[in-house]
Amino acid sequence: MLWPALVMLVAFFLLPTLDIVRSSVFDPDLTGRHFERVFTRAIYLDVFWRTIRVSLIVAAVCAVVAYPVAYYIVQRPRRRQFLFLFLVFVPLWMSVLIRSYAWMVVLGREGLVNAALMGLGLTDAPVKMLFTTGAVYVAMVQILLPIQIVTCYSAMSEIDLDLMRAARVLGAGPWQAVRRVFLPLSLDGTITGAIIVFMLSMGFFITPALVGGRRDLMLANLIELQVNQLNWGFAAAIALVLMAGTVACVAAIKWLSRRLVRALSGGGAP
């Protein structure tokens, strides 16, 4: 039976989405003032661009950090691969709330890093690390990295390693074999992973609120704030802007990456 799933999706996803659209433009009469407010006040625009910037940086950092990790795992013997993937999966299972809390413990004034720094005599007073932009990046990358590694790994595990050997036999150097054969084939998975990480980052809420400062709030935090102040119409407008921004960025990433893949697999000296 398919209909129970469809009923759930309609009741808890489709109808609520339509209600968000309705609340954003009817309050109580047809109005564009909620959207106008998002796009004309510098403070909201700031949050909008920051959300996109942070998400793009987190996705890029995850992609770069995860690629060698996935490559390392994929080259291990099969049993070892499962064990290593398990290590990557363990943090992925933990709730984002607990993982953000863990970073508060590590980076806090009397946290682990400060205790270590002061114990080693590297600093006299605690260094401010918690409630900074840097802390947001460190925590968000740690939270989303496993998703990128797993996506990247599953794309790489589909690649026939004999192709690399064939390239070597045909006279390619080791680096050339990677660049002309492995990289273009694995890039698709990397980009898919980066897009997933980007989309998840765009909705991040807990981590910026817990480890970031007041200037690190993202669109999701803004939505919560507006809901608490009972500005539902405005919250709905922000939510739609968040979705539209996400879709636009994903389209741009896809377009750019297609060109990148084409440039990498074609061209260059033989």
């Binding site: 799933a5 808890f12 609520p16 709730s95 709330l97 863990a102 413990v105 009397e110 809901v227 968040l242």
Partner: protein
């Protein structure tokens, strides 16, 4: 010289890999020792070891009520998502469905939608219908965000099935329902159980939908969230350590089940 290079080129990737694993696991592992400190504040290194904060957690009716509510909601959501998701997989994998790709895409779409968006929509709609602050509404919303995972996990298990068993059962005279339950369902069961565990934790860990929807009643993540914003008391370290242990055990079990299911079908 060349030998040295070879050693280095083997050592560096391994060192990099373990460094990343350390980065991923370390902040989680570090919470465990703190939870056994009897100090009233978070401080490194922890001293004065004991189980004070576990006692505080288990004896505080607010924390216990939040935990019980989260369990109830997560069990309901997991049951709903597992049954509904599995039924959807059986239709999508076995029958001709018009617009199959579009339907699958629709059912799995909540996976990539920010929870804050779903939370806001469900909240606004629930308020209009007078269904807010209702544990069943929350369980329904949680089931909906868990269904995509059930569809993916059970769907993968279903694609590993060997259809010859079921065909043999049919040839031997079993009806379609009986053939399914005697020949296919047992091999599907580990995947379904894995999906149920996963769905449970999707709900059990979920904060933002609960935060919007619930008022009087509090789930465990809501309680943690409220406490974290006020002060960093080690009660949370105790709760976190319990959650870390339970999640790891539950998910490891789910992973073993899934793997065993896959192996069964390989043979």
């Amino acid at each position: 010289m060349r030998k040295g290079m070879g050693k280095l080129s083997r050592f560096l990737p391994a060192a990099y890999f373990w460094l990343v694993i350390l980065y991923l696991l370390f902040p989680i592992v570090i919470v465990l020792p703190i939870s056994f400190s009897n100090n009233p504040f978070l401080r490194f290194p922890p001293s004065n070891f004991g189980v004070l904060w576990y006692e505080t957690y288990f004896s505080d009716p607010v924390w216990v009520a939040a935990t019980v509510l989260s369990f109830k909601v997560a069990l309901t959501a997991s049951l709903l998502a597992t049954v509904i998701g599995t039924m959807a997989v059986l239709v999508l994998e076995r029958r001709q469905v018009p617009l199959k790709a579009a339907v699958t895409y629709f059912i799995t779409s909540p996976i990539i939608i920010p929870h804050i968006f779903i939370a806001l929509g469900v909240f606004i709609l629930a308020v209009r219908l007078g269904l807010e602050d209702n544990a069943l509404t929350l369980a329904g919303a949680h089931a909906t965000i868990a269904i995509p995972f059930v569809v993916l996990i059970v769907g993968a298990a279903h694609r590993q099935l060997d259809p010859t068993f079921e065909r043999a059962a049919r040839v031997l005279g079993a009806g379609p329902v009986r053939a399914f339950f005697s020949a296919a369902f047992p091999s599907l069961l580990p995947g379904i159980a894995a999906a149920a565990v996963f769905a449970f934790f999707v709900s059990f860990d979920e904060l933002i939908i609960a935060e919007f929807l619930m008022g009087e009643q509090e789930t465990l993540p809501m309680r943690i969230w409220a406490d974290l914003r006020l002060e960093l008391r080690p009660t949370i370290a105790a709760v976190s350590s319990l959650l870390i242990t339970i999640t790891t055990l539950g998910m490891a079990l789910s992973e073993i089940l899934r793997r065993r299911g896959a192996n069964l079908n390989d043979d």
